[in-house]
Symmetry: C2
Subunit: 270 residues, 2 copies
């Protein structure tokens, strides 16, 4: 996964994979997937494709007919729109209302799923953090928060608190979580992370220099684990501040690394 230069031997027999986003310049997935393909000796290549939201439907409709297409990774801002363009989706994708991984079946059908939540869980576990039984606090209620919340519920956390700038989105996510997991305590009234074991920032605050902090670090306790899904910078201002407070911090990269393996398996890359 450290490999930056990707060696690919592309021929007429090479299976095609693509990541679709808008913008797409910043994605790191082609480097990581192509390194994996090479390591595993699989004759495939991943390219990045820049598609605007109003063109996603036409592009996916066309790509259904690319017979050597192995699969697609769908990134921001297409994950929600893409679910409606799949021929079939997993229960997990239905619950979250989004897909980030699409496989082309030999029939040409597009089957979608989402690995954001599972990837986050597996990224924690890969670093020795077991979320089962934890009181969890999610900042944000967008696509990533949805995926992570359902994955946390699935692995059996103790409770989930959701705080979001727009309360309606947090309430909507909470209602869908309660419908699926009626026994799980879900809270959207708690504004501070006090009393939670795992605090997760799913907003984009911290991605750009000068962003305000998503939560006040003065509220953090040294016993808490503070997790990000932002990959760049590796240590966001929130993680830096949490580290200063004595918290354990968990950066965004393990979530991507864990998803890569899940996606490779979904694509049938042995």
């Amino acid at each position: 996964m450290k490999e930056r230069n990707t060696v690919v031997d592309i021929t007429g027999r090479t299976k095609l994979f693509a990541i679709i986003g808008d913008p797409v310049r910043q994605v790191k997935t082609p480097e990581v997937i192509n390194a994996l393909l090479r390591e595993r000796g699989f004759d495939g290549v991943m390219v990045a494709i820049h598609v605007a939201p109003d063109a996603l439907s036409a592009v996916l409709h066309g790509m259904k007919h690319m017979q050597n297409l192995g699969g697609l990774i769908i990134t921001v801002p297409h994950k929600t729109q893409a679910i409606a363009l799949c021929d079939d989706v997993t229960t997990r994708a239905q619950l979250v209302g989004a897909v980030n991984c699409i496989r082309r079946e030999p029939s040409g059908a597009l089957t979608g799923t989402i690995f954001d939540g599972t990837g986050f869980i597996e990224g924690l576990r890969g670093h020795g953090i077991e979320p089962r039984g934890m009181a969890t606090f999610i900042v944000g209620a967008g696509g990533a928060a949805n995926a992570i919340a359902f994955a946390l519920a699935e692995v059996g956390v103790l409770r989930i608190s959701i705080v979001n700038r727009t309360a309606k989105k947090a309430d909507d996510l909470a209602a869908r979580l309660r419908a699926r997991y009626p026994a799980l305590p879900i809270d959207t009234q708690m504004a501070v992370p006090t009393g939670h074991d795992l605090v997760i920032n799913t907003t984009s605050l911290g991605l750009s220099p000068g962003d305000p902090l998503p939560i006040d670090p003065a509220l953090l306790e040294p016993s808490q684990i503070i997790a990000e899904i932002i990959m760049q910078p590796e240590l966001t201002p929130l993680l830096v501040a949490a580290g200063v407070r004595g918290c354990r911090v968990h950066p965004g990269r393990p979530m991507l690394d864990a998803q890569i393996d899940l996606m490779a398996a979904y694509f049938g890359i042995p």
Copy 2:
């Protein structure tokens, strides 16, 4: 052009090129174009995409919206159908009725042209053969024959004779040549290459073991040049037989090599 292993560093900023065919397993263009891209330090990659004829329209319509798409190479059997799917085509493509190279303009428009004929001419010239002023004999009247015939007419050959299994296709090509080049003698009655300087097989006979010869080599004269557009095998049975007769032979590969440079320029690869 000897390079078989293509080293490509694919990132989110890499410009995408593709060759589309059915089948596409046999194409050698990705290796050649990717070697060229690497040589020239251009951040681009060419992949091969397998598309059936009935899906070409949907695929090209979708690919219009891939904002980092540089261009497409169109191969058998899509060259004729693809011309109608372009937003704009060159005069040369209009005359031939086919495209084999499509550029995506920044507006998203697809502009098409055909380099089969020019590539054939430049391939000859690269090996010291100047077709201007030659009496030429074309076997076949399909897409490649059309492209080559118009290119020969454009460079000022002395005359063109066309022989084809289906006379109607040869007559149709001859009529379109006469309409564009009224002063150029075009013949479709002559069944033998006697009296011609340059004999070109544009049929696929010679591609598969056991194919009959496209013309009787006993009719060839040592002063004649015999040219193929078949790349594999490099020396077709016709070329072997012509060589035995003392003719100069010209294989198919130079036509591809010349086209690669023309296509790279068309795609704006410096």
